[in-house]
Chain length 327, copies 2
C-alpha cells in the first residue's frame, strides 16, 4: 500500500492545532434504540464543516516554497473545494476550484468566502478532469486530487487515528468503525489508521445505492466504474469509481460495504436533527443511516461502533425539505 | 447566598459519568467574524438535549429512599420536564409533569418517551403552580421547581464549572461567560461556579426583549414581574419574574443583562445551522444572538468569551420556518 501509518502520524503532527480535534460524542437515546454503544465522530464540527480540511492541508502544506506562487487547482463538488480553499489561504497560495454548476450554494459561497476562484462545469457535458488539467497547465499550478493522492489519504486518516485514541480515553475498544465512501479517501485513510492501532476492529464503508461503485468493485475484485442513471441526495458521494490508490487499501482493510437509499439518508438526517441536535449533510450521514436502517450485516448486538458523520454543508432549503418529509 | 461552590462540586460528583461532559468547541469563522475567541458550550448535546438534566438529576438523586415511591411533580414548558422525566426513570421513581398545552411537540413527545405522565394546562387561563401543588398533595409527591431550588441551581452550575476547567485545558482564561436567562437557574449556577474559580470573568445573561424581567429587576434592585404582551420565539425563556433564590445570586455575580429580539434569535439559529452545524432552539441560542447582533455592551475586542448554547429541542416545522426566513 502506498500510504503507511507513519504518514498518518506525520499528517497528525502537521494538523495539530490547525484542524479541530473533533470530539467523540454519544447519545443514550441512540444507544438504547440500537442496542449498541455508538461513538459519533462529528466532522461536521471540523473547519469548513467537513473532514476534507485534513487531507487538503496535509497536501498543501508540503508544497515547496518556490511552487507556492502558482498555487493549486482542484475539482470538487464542494467539501474538498472548501478544504483546499481554506488551506491555500492559510498557506498563502492561490487556489482555483473546478465545481459543478449545481453544487450546493452553501459550498459555493464558502469556497468563495475562503478566497478561492471557482470555474463551473456542467456535470452532464463537461470533462472536469480535462478542465482542471488545462487550468493547471496554464498557471503552472499543482492539481490537488479529492481522494486519489497519498497525502490526501494520510490527512483523512487522522480521523481514524483520533477515533482510536478517543475511544481508548474512554477505556473502550472499537469493534467496528463505519465511514462514508465516495472516492474512498476517508475510508482508506481511516481504515489504515484504525487497523494499525486496533487490528481487530472491523471497517465498514457506506455508499448511496445509486453510487455503489465501491461495493461492486470489491465484489469483482477489481475497480469498476458505474454509469449512474440518477442523482443521489448525497452530492458529496457521487463518484463513479473507486480511486486507483484508495481501492487497494479498501480491498485489504474493509470488511463490508453497506448501501443506503435517499429515503434512509433523509430519515437519518431527521434523526440527527431531532435526537443528536447535529446538522449533517446527506453524504455525511450515510453511516448513521445504515445503522438506523439495519443495513450493516457484520454488526453484532452490544458492540462498540464508531461512526463518522463526515460533513454538515447542506443548503437550508434542502434541509427544510428533508425536515418536512419531502424525501 | 443559599448555594455554595462546594454544592456545585458535589453536584459534579453526582453527575460524573451520568451527564454528558459536553465539549467546548470553536469556529474559526465565528472567531474571525466577531474578532473574539468564542468558546461554545453546546448543552444541546447534553442528555435530553438541554442542560436541564444536570439540575434535575442533582435534585432527584438526593430524594431519600422512602420518598421515592410517591415520586415527583414538576411544571415546565419542556426542557425541565424532560430532565425530570429522565432523572426519575434513572432513579426508579414516577414523575408527573404539568406542561402548557402549546409546548413544542418534540418536548412533549420526549417527556412521554422518558416514561413521565403529563397533565396539560392552558397558558392563558390555568394556574400551573396551583395545579402542580394539588397533584403533589394528592400523591404525597415532591415538587421539583424548574429553577428556584438550591439543588437545581447547583446542578446547572456544573456547566460553568466545566467551562472554566475546559478553558484552562486550552490554556485560556475566560474574560466573559454568556448564558441565557429565564428563571435564572442556569445563569445563577454558572455564575457561582465561574466566579469561584475565575473571579475576574464577567458574567452576562441574555433574555428575550419581551421577557426582560431579569434586566428590569436588576435595574430596580428588587425582583419585578412583567406582564408580557406577546409570546416570545424562546418558549424556554418565558418566565415572568426572576426566582427568589436565583435573583440574589444574579445580583451579586452578573455584570450585564442583554436582550435580543425574535429576529435576532432566528438569525442566530440560521448561523448556528449554516456555520456551526448545530441545531439550537430559540431559547438556547440567545447568547450567540446577542454576540452576533452586537448587543453585549461589556465586550472588548479580542476577548475570550464562553457562550452556553443551552438547548436544542425545537420542532422541525418551526426550524424549517426559521431556515426559510419566516422569522
Amino acid at each position: 500500500m502506498s500510504v503507511s501509518f507513519t504518514d498518518i502520524e506525520r499528517a497528525a503532527q502537521r494538523l495539530a492545532g490547525l484542524a479541530v480535534r473533533t470530539p467523540l460524542i454519544e447519545s443514550d437515546v441512540l444507544n438504547d434504540l440500537l442496542g449498541l454503544r455508538v461513538l459519533i465522530k462529528p466532522e461536521t464540527l471540523q473547519r469548513v464543516g467537513a473532514f476534507k480540511f485534513r487531507g487538503a492541508y496535509n497536501r498543501l502544506s508540503q508544497i515547496p516554497p518556490k511552487a507556492k506562487a502558482a498555487g493549486v487547482v482542484a475539482f470538487s463538488s464542494g467539501n474538498h473545494a472548501q478544504g483546499v480553499a481554506l488551506a491555500a489561504r492559510m498557506l498563502g497560495m492561490p487556489a482555483l476550484i473546478v465545481m459543478p454548476s449545481d453544487a450546493p450554494k452553501i459550498k459555493v459561497d464558502a469556497t468563495l468566502g475562503y478566497g478561492a476562484e471557482i470555474a463551473f462545469y456542467n456535470r452532464m457535458t463537461d470533462d472536469r478532469i480535462a478542465m482542471a488539467a488545462a487550468f493547471a497547465e496554464q498557471r503552472g499550478a499543482i492539481i490537488v486530487p479529492a481522494f486519489d493522492d497519498d497525502d490526501i489519504i494520510a490527512g483523512q486518516g487522522t480521523v481514524g487515528l483520533e477515533m482510536v485514541q478517543q475511544a481508548a480515553d474512554l477505556n473502550l475498544k472499537l469493534d467496528m468503525v463505519i465511514s462514508p465512501v465516495g472516492g474512498g479517501g476517508l475510508l482508506a485513510g481511516t481504515a489504515l489508521a484504525v487497523k494499525a492501532r486496533s487490528p481487530g476492529t472491523l471497517m465498514v464503508g457506506v455508499e448511496p445505492v445509486t453510487f455503489n461503485d465501491t461495493k461492486i468493485s470489491l465484489e469483482a475484485g477489481v475497480r469498476q466504474a458505474i454509469s449512474p442513471s440518477a442523482r443521489s441526495l448525497c452530492d458529496a458521494l457521487e463518484s463513479p469509481a473507486p480511486g486507483a490508490l484508495t481501492f487497494p487499501i479498501v480491498q485489504q482493510t474493509v470488511t463490508e460495504i453497506a448501501v443506503v437509499s435517499d429515503a434512509e439518508v433523509a430519515a437519518a438526517m431527521r434523526y440527527a436533527f431531532s435526537t443528536l441536535k447535529l446538522v449533517v449533510e446527506p453524504g455525511g450521514v450515510v453511516g448513521l443511516a445504515a445503522l438506523l436502517a439495519g443495513k450493516v450485516a457484520s454488526l453484532t448486538p452490544r458492540q462498540v461502533v464508531g461512526v463518522v458523520l463526515s460533513g454538515g454543508n447542506v443548503d437550508p432549503d434542502l434541509f427544510a425539505q428533508v425536515l418536512r418529509g419531502d424525501y
